[in-house]
């Protein structure tokens, strides 16, 4: 009986460990292969947008970006180009503005609308109102890309990181990280580079 109790305690301890370890991991954001959460966020056209709205999509390029970050601005045209290339192939861009708009008024909803109109965004530009979505993804900077693949088990994270390897000059890019990842995903091949790093503007909590 005592042995049984001890075994039970040990198992409980292991279980506890397993769950705490797991939750620490979750708090730090997604890893490759994790299931990404859906959301319902307000778009610059005042409609609400969720991933589940996209019946036909094969995946999504969820990009955390904003108006005020020089890196995000440098990538705006390339984000538009990604949407133009991959929306018809079933992988649309969904842009989310994660910053605290009190701390960064240049990123508030009105400013987002203006920027989307000026640049002619062809994709939803959503406000992470309440800032509850970006911490779940683990986004830390703008722009920060998450490629999701729609599967029977939900939207699975396939790539996390930068758009390409040269923020300064699109013409000097040698590796198109995001395009390579989407192309491989659509071809059913293994994605070679699944995470990349870049200097970006820290998301303002």
């Amino acid at each position: 009986m005592k042995a049984l109790k001890t075994t039970g305690l040990v198992m409980l301890a292991l279980l506890v460990f397993a769950f705490t370890a797991k939750s620490v991991n979750l708090d730090a954001g997604y890893d490759i292969g994790d299931q990404a959460t859906d959301f319902s966020l307000k778009n610059v056209d005042d409609t609400m947008v969720s991933l589940s709205d996209y019946d036909e999509a094969k995946g999504f390029l969820v990009i955390f970006t904003c108006n005020t970050c020089p890196y995000a601005v440098a990538y705006e045209d390339r984000i538009i180009a990604l949407d133009a290339k991959y929306k018809p192939l079933g992988v649309p861009v969904i842009a989310i503005m994660p910053n605290n708009t009190t701390a960064k008024p240049g990123d508030n909803f009105d400013a987002m609308k203006t920027r989307a109109q000026e640049k002619g965004f062809t994709f939803p530009y959503l406000l992470d109102e309440g800032q509850e979505i970006y911490p779940q993804y683990g986004a830390t900077r703008t722009p920060h890309v998450y490629l999701l693949e729609k599967t029977d088990n939900g939207n699975m994270v396939r790539y996390i990181g930068a758009i390409d390897d040269n923020y300064q000059d699109a013409a000097q890019v040698e590796e198109k990280f995001v395009e390579n990842a989407v192309d491989a995903m659509l071809a059913g091949e293994e994605i070679e580079v699944t995470t990349t790093k870049a200097i970006g503007c820290s998301i303002k909590a």
Partner: protein, 195 residues
């Protein structure tokens, strides 16, 4: 049952985190209001800056990562504080006075301060130079101009996600890397482990 308990625990931890962030935020907004105008149109500001050519006669040394690397690996008897920053990075600007104050106090103890600017080429003349001059920065300002970030970020520290401010403190015996901002007290606490 266990799952429920730990979900609850996780929620509680999250709540603490929110409260912590919120209080941090209150602290920040006090400083940020001053720069409100700066904030309102940085996108437009950048668009303007984009038109001007990056000037070759910028006052500070411009390195690619290979050029910068020796500064991160000196083996003399000094302690080096290497701070990665940019003029467009608000928390970087906020922590700058703590670094400058510490440098002024500890220079005699063999401490060197290197301020590695990640400002874009279009900002070197228009923003970086005026900022350094206005603040009278005493740390050694160098510019890191190397767009192959995914290659060099892990060479600074393999755990660096790419956020700034980020700071490396090292001497010939040891090194520590931090991907967060510092207060004066926090910086000195870490620095004192080297002195």
């Amino acid at each position: 049952m266990t799952i429920v308990i730990f979900k609850d625990l996780k929620m509680r931890i999250m709540r603490y985190l929110y409260v912590f962030c919120l209080s941090a935020l209150v602290g920040f907004t006090a400083c940020t209001t001053k720069q409100k105008n700066d904030n309102a149109q940085p996108a437009a500001e950048y668009a303007d800056a984009e038109k001007s050519e990056p000037s070759a006669d910028v006052k500070f040394p411009v390195y690619d990562f290979d050029g910068l690397e020796p500064l991160l690996n000196k083996d003399d008897n000094k302690t080096y504080i290497i701070n990665f920053w940019a003029t467009w990075c608000k928390p970087c600007i906020e922590e700058m006075p703590s670094f400058e104050k510490t440098y002024a106090e500890q220079q005699a103890n063999g401490v060197e301060l290197v301020l590695v600017s990640l400002d874009m080429p279009t900002m070197w003349k228009s923003r970086l130079e005026p900022f350094v001059e206005k603040k009278g920065l005493k740390g050694k300002v160098v510019i890191l101009d190397d767009p192959k970030m995914n290659d060099w970020i892990p060479k600074v520290d393999e755990n660096w996600g790419g956020g700034i401010p980020a700071t490396l403190i090292y001497n010939k015996d040891k090194r520590v890397f931090f991907e967060h901002g510092f207060t004066y007290d926090e910086l000195n606490e870490e620095l004192n482990k080297f002195l």
